[in-house]
Point group: C4
């Protein structure tokens, strides 16, 4: 299970079934009764602590319950600090866990509360705790969903080079479009007061988000915008095409079979096939 979701601490076979081994199994795996209970409690604590951070940011709630929020915040942070310490103690390959995706997230989840003693406002960074909820996939034993997530991940990973090339083109494009709009509208429209501001508008437009906080006012600006929007029409199709083609390939790869008939050389057999569909001979692995 060396997938993206790996804990970086899920290999401990061969160690003696001592206390540390049992605690490791409880914390990192979900294959024991105690492990499952631990995971469920942890998920509830994470969910509650994220909700507290979010609610605390609401002015009216903070002025009413600010003190309670602070206590709860420290309560959750202390629990997660202890949990992080125990994880580090229990796992055998400490460095591998500490540098894994979840190891880093676990650390970043407790730091903001401590940093907030010195720098006001940083406690909201605790929202990063929400990433810990991704562990949920393991807890819920959603092996199937896990497979789905991996298909998605692989498709995105193999799309990545194409999409990064694509994003570079988009950045070049919006820079030029934004500059043109600045030249056209800059003088008369406060929304195009500088090139960076106009590039912001171009990004809002090409991605079809279209807030409307900045919109062209002059006739030439509207014509240019129309050209930009229509060209963006074709552009928005490109990432969809890239990802679709990759997902199709992933799906195909899952179903493909590389066996070839010894007798007639026919390939492209169903993975479930026993006999060659062309000559009726038995197929070998």
């Amino acid at each position: 299970m060396s997938s993206f979701f790996s804990d970086g601490g899920d290999d401990g076979p061969g160690s003696e079934p001592g206390l540390r081994e049992r605690i490791w199994r409880t914390i990192f795996l979900s294959d024991t009764k105690s492990g499952q209970i631990f995971d469920v409690i942890l998920l509830i604590l994470i969910g509650a602590s994220v909700a507290i951070v979010m609610l605390e940011s609401v002015e009216t709630l903070r002025s009413l319950h600010g003190y309670k929020f602070l206590i709860l915040e420290w309560f959750f942070t202390l629990i997660f600090t202890v949990e992080y310490g125990v994880r580090l103690w229990a796992v055998r390959k400490k460095r591998r866990y500490a540098l894994s995706f979840f190891g880093i997230v676990d650390l970043l989840s407790i730091l903001p509360t401590y940093v907030a003693i010195f720098f006001v406002g940083t406690q909201y960074l605790m929202v990063i705790r929400i990433l810990r909820l991704l562990r949920m996939f393991r807890v819920l034993k959603m092996a199937h969903h896990f497979g789905q997530a991996n298909v998605l991940m692989n498709a995105l990973k193999s799309s990545a080079p194409k999409i990064s090339v694509f994003l570079f083109f988009i950045l070049t494009l919006v820079s030029i479009e934004g500059t043109l709009m600045y030249i056209v509208e800059g003088g008369s429209n406060p929304g195009f007061s500088s090139i960076p501001q106009s590039i912001y508008w171009a990004i809002v437009t090409v991605t079809t988000v279209g807030y409307g906080d900045v919109a062209p006012l002059t006739v030439v600006g509207k014509i240019l915008s129309s050209v930009i929007m229509l060209s963006g029409f074709a552009i928005i199709a490109v990432p969809a095409g890239i990802v679709t083609a990759e997902i199709g390939r992933e799906n195909l790869a899952l179903r493909m079979d590389r066996r070839k008939c010894d007798q007639c050389g026919w390939t492209g057999h169903d993975p479930a096939a026993i006999y060659c569909k062309h000559c009726g001979c038995k197929l070998h692995v």
Copy 2:
């Protein structure tokens, strides 16, 4: 016809052709003259009653014709109540009908008027009657459209796990993006007054809806928004890719060979296959 659109009451063969049987056939099937007339009248009544509810919500119309709307509302509700009673009486497997999709919709379609006696405003929930119009597909004998709807349904159903994983990632993403924007813009922009409010903005942005009721004002906020929008560009492509791949697979399944091996009964052969891939026997057309 145990498809999604099934009435849960469409199996009555073998029963004596008595009154109940004839009424059942008229109400639940569309294969008799009287059944078709019943369906068309019902669809007109449903359409009219939904239109009445919608028009009643318009202030100017309500103040003018409020009394007439109330009478019509009760008129339609009483008809549909009687119809629901007759359906329950006529069908043999009462529980199966009552718990089917259309059975529940039929019940929910009449409840709001009665509940509105006690709780003002709930009568608008009658709009749920519009779901009864889905029966139209059966009435219009659109067998072909039916097949199309089922292809869509199957594609969506098999996309569901991938899309739910995807939505969970999106929720995690918008939570973090919203929090970052709250930290950046929270102090100076009333549109980012709290984390939940900022998450609302992030959802409006990532889905490319972009109302513009909330928009970044600071330079850092606009840069961060630009990154969010461009990353959302790749993201919006993912569901399209998932659904496309599934529809392609569904279409393929529809075209698959219908030959069945005489010997072992295996199906799903390649159109070019000569021998059964399971037992090696010759296939016949």
Copy 3:
């Protein structure tokens, strides 16, 4: 050439090469020198007349040049009226031309000017003349583009049943979503003053257009909107999936070959293949 773009008047072979025949060939086909000159002049006239109608609608230009616009309008209309008369006279199957797509467009292109004598404002309907520009494809001898347009048309045509089913679901969905938002926001937000108005908002939201003229104000309304937007995320993928699958099928159909090797029964040959790729025997048509 019985494609979508057919003139309904393009079959005249066998008739004597008299005056009517020569005029018919000039007007309806583009295979003679005079026919090409006629088509180019016609396209220029159509473009100019559409531009005049559009410019006339601009208040400042109308007050300055209103009289000239009126004269030009009648000038173009009289030319197109004469052209329509000559077309009707020259073509053999008059009814077929008059009822074809372009025949109807040709008629609708001249009617608004005459109707505008009695009903002010209808002259803008002349913009329908723009449809006549679709003839351009034939003039420019863009046989290749023609094929492309037909692939698109076929893909859209075979997507039509799925997409109409899909639009019906969307209509049902936005009705229910709009009603829910009316119940939630109706009292406090003038943008949700009635159910039809709220359905308009739901359509603006689900299609991701998001004008922002109507936006939720209450907390519950924003939460409900977020759910609607995220669900719309999966929904917007469906038409893309449908059309993509159909275009893929169209492309495949263009390339497929139905030949089967007499010797070994192998199928799936390249349309350009002469010998069977499996056994090396000659292929027959």
Copy 4:
């Protein structure tokens, strides 16, 4: 390497390894130490000069550092002018370089500063320098990314005819939709004051950008808008479908068999093929 990204000056083999040859190799290729250093310095200069132009457009920065910006602008322009001259001198096929994509971009990158002496404001056109950054792909030796970009380019190129046909249909559609909205809303809504203005709205709507600077106000206008938006729903899927199908085909082409018949030289064989489909000879691996 006659791809889209070609410099138009990258063929100099056979020339004597003199000074001009060495300078040519340094400037145009990246296969020597000095060539790589040159490219990295050039990219940094280009990036800095583009940043300067963008920052100069910000009012507050210009009033503070206007003089410094002007000096830097001329500094970069003089460097690039010298570079352009050396490129022209070093390359053998001068005309081919001067008319290549990068040759034209190189020239356009230096012109605006000179032209700005006579025409104020044109200096912002220097942003076109950003296109020179596309050379980065070569510098970073991202052969893989290069291949990805070419797949994208080929897919877009083969999609071009379909997409241009599609854009022509869209233009026809928004013209008619805009006119209808002008007739409906023109009298009461300043946002639909003329047909061109209404066409602008139609483009903003069909592309789902939806600024909201123009939005329907009347009931009929909102109903018509809803129809336009829902029909646009199906339309937006079309380019995605086109590009997806083309990328799929490109990917397929990449995987196609590279075997070549010894006898007749035919390529493009099925990976499962045993005999050449053209001459029937046996194929070798």
